[in-house]
């Protein structure tokens, strides 16, 4: 392309000039968004990701629901099958009132708390997987 040149002693090397963009404060475009691109562009890999997330969350939700519903549905059944439980007393108050009126609520709260924690864990793991 160009004729070979004999190396000349370089003149004073050009001063290094620092060039900065006037918009340094602007947000930089994300350089790589691998997982989320797969997801939103509906590639085969994205499909796999989505299916995995949906399944994990659905399994968790159903487990929590079945546990609580089983407990709730079981109580009338217990009262139906065990006539003694219907008239049992706790101190001055009937047992059924203590169980259905008070004891149910902490259990429901505990189940909800368990679900929130697990669902967030699943999301964290999913984010890590997709971001990798």
């Amino acid at each position: 392309m160009t004729e070979p040149t004999t190396p000349r002693p370089a003149p004073t090397p050009p001063r290094r000039v620092r060039i900065t963009s006037p918009r340094r404060g602007a947000r930089r475009r994300a350089e790589r968004r691998p997982g989320s691109v797969e997801l939103t562009e509906q590639t085969g890999l994205g499909e796999v990701y989505l299916t995995a997330l949906l399944r994990a969350q659905l399994r968790l939700s159903l487990a929590v629901l079945l546990g609580v519903v089983g407990m709730l549905a079981g109580l009338p059944a217990v009262f139906l099958l065990l006539p003694d439980a219907r008239s049992a007393m706790v101190g001055p108050v009937p047992l059924a009132w203590v169980v259905v009126g008070v004891a149910v609520y902490p259990v429901v709260y505990a189940a909800a708390r368990l679900h929130v924690r697990q669902a967030e864990r699943i999301e964290r793991e999913f984010t890590d997987l997709v971001r990798r």
């Binding site: 629901l65 549905a73 059924a96 967030e120």
Partner: protein
């Protein structure tokens, strides 16, 4: 039956004034359309949870639960349990995905997920109908409470609640409502808990008498005893629990509240708080039902069981302590009517505005009329219809039963739409629409027949029919789900093309789908 009414009147007026005052405070903060609808989406989880609790605890919770426990017995303890578990179901099935969908209302969600304007319109009609059915008992309850504590005409109480609600909603929109509602929860909790402690203490001092074990109708304090007029207690119990558990997510005022969370994770935290707050509150109403069964073996003529909460204090103590407690309870009851009615009005008005009014007004006026005016107009419509219904129809069904019917309709229509929409990729537009129509027709026909008392009294088959119609959820909800699934499978071509992308948006954590 008129008590010394001055204290109770003062309490009721104070609650109304406080509601309007906090609403006016919010008015100074709410500036944009987004503020109006969903408080600019900047509400913290505890505040939002208090607001949800305040909005959710309605006349049915404050008066109706105790009334039904009083008249029907232990089986009615399941009502508050169902009201609470409804939030658990909402949490595990739809809370975070719905927030991530970024929609304002249920019709928005329908359009976003299924991209069909007609389906959107169908969902709007259902939201408005459920909202009105739920508003009606709030207005009726207000009339009832006012008559019980002051002896005034029921029409005054109904009008008072409708007017205060309209003023505070039309003035401040959602932001002021969020503050008002959060305040109302704590007000209601205090108003029901403090008198309950006093009354239980009195009961303990009176030697802890028990309710009569065997009354003519059956044992009061035992579960599944079919104490009063309820037939088929086991079926009714299960069906009611189902309606309450699944119906909560379909109530218009409940979902609107979730859009005020900043993100999906916050929506979950808020729901968790709500479950705690509701559990705390619901310990108290049954206490009134049981104490009333001991102290008031029979109600004065012309009173409905729904008013036993307000009758109990004077029946137990009398004197100025009784009057004071009654005043506190009456204030709490009015807080309940006001908060639920304003929450419902905001969401029903939002739907009327977005789907019926705003476009028309803009076209008609050439865009001169701002959005806030059409929202105000919509809230007038949202209040006027149930107000007229509450004033014209004499209440034949208990407050909590009317509310349970609204839950049943929500559970048979919007619940399948939301649950299948959030979890099932193959839901088609036609499937969703068929589910909505079948569930809506079946459950509202059942509700209508119950309201107008079409099925005559009597045992045997008539009894079963009456029970099936009064507690329709056990058969309408599975039918609606089944229809939606079967029709969706049969019409794979009407599945929206970008269903998978929408599901990603619903389920992926925000930091992924935003590309942040």
């Amino acid at each position: 039956m008129t008590l010394d009414s001055s204290w109770a009147t003062v309490a009721i007026l104070l609650v109304c004034l406080a509601t309007l005052g906090v609403g006016a405070l919010g008015l100074r903060l709410s500036r944009t359309t987004s503020d109006f609808y969903v408080a600019g989406r900047t509400v913290s989880a505890p505040l939002n949870a208090s607001a949800i609790g305040g909005e959710y605890l309605s006349a049915a919770s404050f008066l109706g639960v105790a009334g039904l426990v009083y008249s029907v017995g232990t089986d009615m303890l399941w009502l508050p349990v169902g009201y609470t578990v409804g939030y658990l179901v909402l949490l595990v099935l739809v809370a975070a995905p719905l927030r991530r969908s970024g929609a304002y209302t249920i019709p928005d969600f329908a359009q976003l997920r299924l991209a069909s304007p007609r389906l959107r319109r169908l969902a709007s009609v259902l939201v408005i109908a459920i909202g009105w059915l739920y508003l009606m008992p709030q207005f009726q309850g207000a009339g009832l409470a006012l008559r019980t504590v002051t002896g005034g005409s029921p029409a005054v109480g109904t009008f008072l609640v409708a007017a205060v609600v309209l003023l505070s909603v039309a003035a401040g929109g959602m932001r002021s409502i969020t503050l008002v509602q959060a305040m109302q929860y704590w007000l209601k909790l205090a108003a029901i808990a403090i008198p309950a402690f006093v009354l239980v203490w009195l009961w303990a001092r009176q030697g802890q008498p028990l309710p009569p074990a065997t009354s003519p109708a059956g044992p009061f304090a035992e579960p599944l005893a079919a104490y009063a007029m309820r037939e088929h207690a086991t079926y009714s119990t299960y069906s009611t629990i189902l309606a309450l558990c699944l119906g909560t997510m379909g109530l218009p005022h409940v979902l609107v509240r979730f859009y005020t969370n900043p993100d999906g994770r916050a929506a979950r935290c808020t729901t968790l708080f709500v479950i705690g707050l509701l559990g705390l509150f619901y310990v108290f109403p049954p206490v009134y039902g049981m104490l009333a069964r001991i102290v008031l073996p029979s109600l004065p003529p012309g009173t409905r069981p729904d008013s036993v909460v307000l009758l109990l204090p004077t029946a137990m103590v009398g004197g100025s302590l009784g009057d004071l407690l009654t005043a506190v309870l009456a204030g709490g009851a009015f807080a309940a009517f006001l908060s639920t009615a304003s929450g419902l009005t905001v969401s029903v008005a939002g739907v009327i505005d977005q789907d019926l009014l705003a476009d028309r007004i803009a076209r008609w006026s050439g865009g001169d009329i701002p959005r806030t005016v059409s929202f105000r107009l919509a809230s007038v419509v949202a209040v006027a219809v149930p107000y007229a219904a509450a004033s014209l129809l004499s209440p034949t069904v208990a407050l909590a039963d009317t509310v349970a019917l609204a839950f049943a309709i929500a559970a048979s229509t919007l619940c399948p739409l939301l649950v299948l929409g959030v979890w099932w990729r193959r839901l088609s537009v036609r499937g969703a629409a068929s589910g909505l129509i079948v569930g809506g027709v079946l459950s509202s026909v059942a509700a209508g027949l119950t309201f107008f008392g079409v099925v005559p009294a009597g045992g045997g088959d008539a009894g079963w029919w009456r029970t099936l119609l009064a507690q329709p959820a056990a058969w309408t909800v599975p039918t609606a789900f089944l229809v939606a699934v079967v029709v969706s499978l049969a019409t794979p071509r009407s599945v929206p093309r970008d269903a998978a992308r929408t599901l990603v948006r619903l389920h992926a954590p925000e930091e992924l789908s935003d590309g942040r």
